[in-house]
Every structure is written in C-alpha cells, then in structure tokens.
C-alpha cells in the first residue's frame, strides 16, 4: 500500500488534490482512499489530506501516520508544524517552492532521504502561468507522477478533467503536464 500525505493551507486545494490523486489511481484499476484531516477549515489555516493507494480493498481508517510520499503545498508550514512526522527514510518529499532546500532551511531534515526522492517544484508559479490563479495542487500531482511513477500522468490528466471540466480543467492539465515534464528532465 502506498500512502501519501498532503500539507497545505486552506484555499490551496489540498483536499481536492487528495481526491484527484485517488481518482487517478481508480482510473488505473486500483483501490484508493482519499480523506481530509477533518476540521473546521478556513482560508490560510494548515490543512492536511491523505490518500492511500493499493491493489486490494483498503480497510484502514487511521490517519496516514507513515507517508511514503509527502507533498508540501506551502513551505512556510515547515516553521509551523512537524511536517516530516512519520516520513520513513525511503520516503519521497515534494515541495512547492522556487527556492532550493538549503534556502528553506530543511537540509538536515531531508539529508536522510535517498537521492532523487526530494524534489522542489515552483508549482504556484506554474499555476499562475497556465491557470492564472495560485492553485498548486494539480501541478504537484503532475510532479508526483514524474518522481514516483505511482500514477501515470495520463491518469492525473483524466482525474483533473473529471474534477474540473472545461477551460479551468484544461489549464490545470497543461500546468500538471508542464510540471511533469520539467520534473522528469531534472531527475
């Protein structure tokens, strides 16, 4: 079973990201479970959502405590909460930032992770370019597909289309594809 935890802030589409990731896996014939960490969420407050992907029915209902992959939609969260909680030594880390790891001040925290498992993507910038709105969620799913291969980029695109039909979906698909391609060439 693969477990993903997504951190962000209210308004960034964290819950939608987990949902679209689960739909991507579903489209590939897998079982997937996406759940928000439930709260009376509001704009700007820290938000967490989880997604599990497996070949068999998922019965587990606890929060994702040991994520195989961690998506951080807002790097200011590193100062606010223990984002790395439970991340195993072979985990993946995907951060929405235009800065590098040293500038974020998390060099020590990520040193234990294998090469190629830590990835930064300027997802908000990419979203602004394609979607004209600061919504990094779909972009990061494109990058997740590139670095982990757990889901195909085509499935991500299909999931985005089902969540956001029409022009907004098309713009998000283009943004996710751009992140997928730039992340693939980088690693």
């Amino acid at each position: 079973m693969l477990q993903v935890r997504i951190h962000g802030r209210g308004g960034q589409g964290v819950v939608s990201a987990a949902e679209m990731l689960s739909v991507s896996a579903f489209l590939e014939g897998k079982h997937a479970q996406a759940v928000p960490s439930f709260g009376s969420e509001r704009m700007g407050a820290p938000v967490v959502a989880f997604c599990r992907i497996d070949d068999k029915e998922i019965r587990l209902r606890e929060p994702v405590l040991e994520p195989n992959a961690l998506i951080v939609q807002d790097p200011t969260l590193f100062q606010a909460i223990d984002v790395f909680n439970g991340l195993p030594d072979d985990g993946y880390l995907l951060i929405n930032t235009g800065r590098d790891i040293a500038e974020l001040g998390i060099e020590k925290a990520v040193a234990r992770l294998p090469e190629g498992h830590v990835c930064t993507v300027p997802a908000t910038e990419i979203a602004m370019k394609y979607v004209k709105r600061p919504l990094p969620n779909a972009v990061l799913l494109g990058a997740l597909s590139a670095i982990t291969g757990v889901i195909k980029i085509e499935s991500v695109e299909e999931a985005i289309k089902s969540k956001f039909p029409g022009k907004i979906g098309e713009a998000n698909i283009a943004a996710a594809r751009a992140a997928y391609e730039s992340t693939s060439t980088k690693s």
Partner: protein
C-alpha cells in the same frame, strides 16, 4: 457501476435510486454534502417526481417529513449531532406514529464542548426512540443499507436511521459500486403505505392515547422491532440475490470462529480492527471480531451465539454512558447473560480522536492477558485528567474544565499532524 466518489455522494445517489418523493434538507456537518448532492440531483432532473424542501431547522425537517410520510410519500432526511437532538421530539413522533421515514445520521459527537468530529453519541442518544438503527461499516454498505432501509421501513411501517460515521465515511473518496436503477426498481417496489392521510377517504392519526391503551400501542412498537429481527436478514438475502453483495443483516463476524478473544464493535472502526486482527493472527493469536449492523432491534440471540464460543469479550465503542461506562457494552451484556467469561468495555475515538493500529494492538494484547480494567478509555491522557482532578480538589473555583484541559494540552491543534 464502479465510481470513485465521496461517501456522501454515494449515499445521495443511493437515496435517489430509491425514488424518494419528499426530501427535507437542513445542513449540519458532517451530513451536509448528502442533502446538497440530493438537491443537485433533484434540480438536475436525475431524481424526478420529488419535492426537495429546504426547511428552517432540523425540527422542521423531520416534522415536514412526518407530514409527507403520513400523506403517503416516500420520505427521506438526514442530520447529525446537535441537529438530531434538536429534532428529538419529532424523532419519537415519527416512530410512535409508525411512519416509514428513512434518515441518515452522519455520526458526530455531541457538545458541550462543541466538537464537529466523529463519534457515535448522537445516534446512541436516540437508541430507544423506536427507530430501527443500522450502522454502516464501509461506504459500500452505506449505499446498500440505504436501499435496504426503505424496504425495511415500508415493510414494517417504522422509521429507519442509517448511521454512517461522519468524516471517516461521509468525507472519504473511495471506490463504490453504485447500483443500476432497474436493479433497485426490482428490489424496491413503490411505497404502499399502511396508513395514509387522503382527503377522499379521511382518517385521523396521532390521537391522544390514555392509560387504557398506551401500553398496547407501545407494545406494538416493540413487537414490530422484534419482527424486524427476522425481516432485516430476509431483506438482506433478497438484496444479495439481486445485487450480489451481503451488506446488511443483523451482525457480521471477522475471523471469529475459533477466537479466544472477541472484539465487539459497530461502524467503520471494524476496518482498522480487521487489519490489527490480521497482524495478530499472523503471530498465531486467536482473535476475531463481531460487528453489530443492527443496533435497534438489538440481535441478542445472534450475538449470544458468537459470545458463547469465546474466552473473553472486548466491547469497543465510540460513545459513553456517563456515570455507567459503555452504552453498547451494557447492551452486549444482555446478550452475554448466562456466560461467565469476562467482558471489558473500551471507550475510544471520542470527538474524532484517531483510532490507530498501534493503540488497538496494545489494547488487544492487554485484553488477551486479562490486564484490562472493566471500563477503560483508549489513549486517555492520564496525566492531564489527574492534573485536572487535583486542581478541582485544591481549588473551589477551579475554572472551566474544557478550557483548563485545552490549556494543559496546548492550543496548537496537534491533530493537524498526528
């Protein structure tokens, strides 16, 4: 058709397939998405011949539902938590009048202190209100049990409450098999009311009943619930023949046959419990579970049959009878009569506290060594309560307990990361 959808949306689609004629809607977390999605289905024409009525409160939601059901319309509503409390008077009226309304409760804690997260205190507060209460283990079951609920309700002329764990199920996106309309039509015939308010053939319902007849009317309610003990499994069997799934019935068991230690629970927590049971079974430990799918009527005989084969019983429940211990456990003890094995009550998951494999594993290990108190609380922060008890002993004006406890634990919401 297989779909990857939110649990609430699955319930809305299932209710829609049952061809409801009146839906009364008032929003309350975590049930809101269900009635919102139903509103979209009615407005979009996927549900036809249905009045979607926005009301001003939960009390109004069920009161309108009582009226529409008495007028012969298949009626649905949904609520949770404080909303269920606010409609309490109507809850008793619906069952007392014998009206086959189906209502979803998206299970949530009850305040004060205010808490929007999951436990099962809300449904349990209405356990003796005369409604049939069915608990879903998964979102697939939530879909299937709603379809069965209309048939059970209309067969007995009695309301049915379908209890679905709030957030854990209602807000989870999962794979669900949503039935076809023709399957549901084959299973669920049009509503033929036992009693109907019809201007062309006027009758009166809801008359005052004095001491000379009240006991008999109440007895009939009890009698119908006892009938339900037979009808619920029959309807589940019919459902299985058409849909190919066993989703309802009175109880289900998991690796219980040769279990020395038997966990008794209800609702979605059986998912995580099953995972823990598998881990422990792999180590050779004989542990299993029984899940109560129908809490009202309470299947005393079926549970007794399972309990009598085991060495010890652990009732795990997401509610608390303050001043007694377990609500579910006190019911299970009725089914345990005549047996001498120990019964332990464990209260967990209150107000949405995560129930983890780790904690359950430790709990079950302790149970197997008979190292449990008769009533205990999973993951209770003992130091915090000890400190608060101490404060209350030392100072007369010790302050508000909720605020004191929050201060001790820290205002930063640790739930966000753990």
């Amino acid at each position: 058709m297989l779909k990857q959808i939110e649990g609430s949306h699955g319930v809305a689609e299932a209710v829609g397939l049952c061809r409801p004629e009146v839906i009364c809607a008032y929003p309350i977390t975590p049930q809101t998405h269900i009635v919102e999605d139903l509103g979209v289905l009615v407005k979009g024409g996927q549900i036809t011949d249905c009045e979607f009525i926005n009301v001003e409160s939960e009390f109004a939601a069920l009161s309108v539902g009582i009226g529409s059901s008495a007028a012969g319309a298949r009626t649905y509503t949904a609520t949770a938590s404080q909303g269920l409390l606010y409609m309490a008077e109507a809850v008793y009226n619906a069952s007392g009048l014998g009206l086959p309304i189906v209502m979803t409760v998206g299970n949530r804690a009850i305040g004060s202190p205010i808490n929007i997260w999951n436990d099962q205190s809300d449904s349990m507060s209405m356990r003796d209100a005369g409604w049939i209460q069915l608990f879903a283990e998964t979102n697939q079951q939530a879909i299937d049990v709603h379809i069965q609920a209309f048939k059970i309700a209309e067969t007995l002329s009695m309301p049915v409450m379908v209890c679905v764990d709030g957030f854990i199920l209602t807000h989870a996106y999962e794979r669900m098999d949503v039935p076809d309309q023709d399957q549901v039509d084959r299973f669920l015939p049009p509503f033929e009311p036992r009693q109907v308010l019809d201007p062309s053939d006027p009758i009166s319902i809801g008359a005052m009943v004095g001491p000379e007849a009240f006991t008999e009317v109440r007895y009939m309610e009890h009698h119908k619930q006892l009938q339900a003990l037979e009808i619920i499994p029959e309807i589940n069997k019919e459902f299985k023949e058409i849909f190919g799934r066993d989703s309802g019935g009175l109880i289900s068991t998991y690796r219980a046959d040769d279990a020395d230690t038997l966990i008794v629970t209800l609702g979605s927590v059986i998912g995580t419990i099953s995972e823990v049971i598998d881990e422990m079974r792999d180590k050779g430990q004989k542990i299993g579970a029984v899940t109560i799918r129908s809490f009202r009527p309470f299947p005393l005989d079926e549970i007794h049959e399972v309990l009598k084969k085991t060495q010890r019983v652990v009732v795990f429940e997401k509610c608390l009878a303050v001043g007694l211990g377990g609500i579910v456990a006190s019911n299970v003890r009725m089914a345990h009569r005549g047996l001498t094995t120990p019964v332990y009550t464990v209260i967990g998951g209150l107000g949405g506290r995560p129930i983890t494999r780790k904690s359950l594993n430790e709990l079950f290990e302790k149970a197997m060594n008979d190292d449990l108190e008769e009533t205990s609380f999973l993951d209770l922060k003992q130091d915090v309560v000890d400190h608060e008890i101490d404060r209350a002993e030392k100072f007369n004006r010790s302050g508000a307990i909720a605020e004191n406890v929050l201060r001790q634990i820290g205002v930063v919401d640790v739930a966000k990361t753990s």
